[in-house]
Amino acid sequence: MKELSIKVSNLSKRFGNFVAVDNISFEVDKGEIFGFLGANGAGKSTAIKMLCGLLEPSSGNAEIAGFDIYKETEKIRKTIGYMSQKFSLYEDLTVAENIRFFGGIYGLNKNEIADRTKYILDWLKISNLRDVLVGSIPLGWKQKIAFAVSVIHNPKIVFLDEPTGGVDPITRRQFWEMIYLKSGEGITIFVTTHYMDEAEYCNRISMMNKGIIEALDTPENLKAKYSSVNMDEVFLKIARGK
């Protein structure tokens, strides 16, 4: 039996009369790279916020790493990592200080923080940037460091909310190599993106439109189903309601 990482059933969020997320259900396996796609306003952010415990659902259930999102938010927070589309690092702190801070709030001790700092600097080959203020580092590097920091406490699941926004193709490629590495280590990756070429890198993709999940499958199956050559076409066909 496969180990489930995320289990969502009939989850909804209503703001007054507006239904942002309408009765969605899906499951994500351990170590899977799960792409969460949809146009702006499709309900992606609302869904992610509910899964991370930032927003209380109106109805429905969800389990994150086996923990209930209503009752066990404490445990969920210790098990997940999060990186948002906005900068996830403090610009006026150096790389090492950022690592120490985020290690600190996830409860790592001094030795663990020293280990993780060395690990991240070696992994990204940025020992020279150790004591450089994050504000003076190029965007692409910042995003890679932010991802490394978001998995500093070895979470079971990491939520990436448009992590590669505004980053050049080469850096995006490197970013995805980092994602593959962590997925290989058994960390579940839950990622939203605007770039359709990135969608192809995911194991499975869900396409959201107007609060509901229109399609959920592997990129290959989706392309076949919508008889498209690439994910761009799939996306457009779904968004236009064909």
């Binding site: 415990g53 999060y82 906005k86 403090y90 006026d92 801070f101 600190g104 709030i105 409860g107």
Partner: protein, 367 residues
Amino acid sequence: MKRFFAFVRKEFYHIFRDKRTLLILFGMPLAQILLFGFAITNEIKNADIGVLDNSKDVTSLELINRIKASGYFKLAEYGNNTESIEESFRKGKIKLAIIFDRDFGKNFQLGKNPELQIIADASDPNTANTLINYISSIVMSFTHEKNINNKISLINTEFRMRYNEELKGVYLFVPGLITIILMLVSAMMTSISITKEKELGTMELMLVSPMKPYTVIIAKVIPYTFLSIINSAIILILGKFVFDVPIQGSLILLMAEIILFILSALSLGILISSITDSQQVALMISLVGLLLPVILLSGFIFPLENMPLWLQYFANIIPAKWFMIIIKSIMLKGSGITDIWLETLLLAGFTLVFALISVVKFKMRLE
């Protein structure tokens, strides 16, 4: 606890790396106290005056000399006629004019109501008032002295200005400045630093982390509490050693009250940051909603007693008003807790209410 300290340390990095924050934190209090202490003062020395001596005798000369010797006035013009005095007023050469009646000296010797006219330039009412007061007291003591053997009996009034015998402005400015600066640093800086994290999106990161929301808030305000305490110490020390402002009461009580006020300002800051997500708005609310009332309605610059009744009632809900009373009583009168327990209780009450509202508000924002 480890998480907590990691956060506090980060907060100190933010503060010490931002030059503007540092300037507001430490530069401004210093600049303000030196400005208020040295430059802006209610006392007037060497005010230019004009004299029109129609009497020209021993008595009038003696009085003029007495006035000159007081140190408050400088004879800028010894006029010959009313027109020249009038012109000097218009040109702003003199602030005050003394006009002796033609029979001033004669009547004075005879004890027959000598007349002296004093005209002040009231385009600046405060100065005019002060100068008139100075002159009156000089004239009064002069009259009294000369009348010892005379038949007119005068009531000898003696004034004492308790708690500030020399009517020094700094006595009021030091407590006032502490109030304003604590309010500014604690409320404004906290609200800005919290909304900054909201704007940058880093607050979200805190909220998905195992840090509890109230830990985030407490860790956020600890550095500002600490710095505010240091700030008030600097102002007190400057006040004491540069401007001779006394601290009559207990220093421990004073610091305890200061910390209580800091807490009330901090909870106001948190409250502001829970209303808005933008640094700009937080800044505006702090300036208009907090700083202005503190300056205008705490009794720092304008006496509350002269305000319309509704405004006086309104001032009652401003914590700074009560803190001003407390800090002045302790510093200048040497009051103990038994004298100011009511004000302290009110201040504590405000703090509690603000803190409760901001905790509830902050929670609501998370759901």
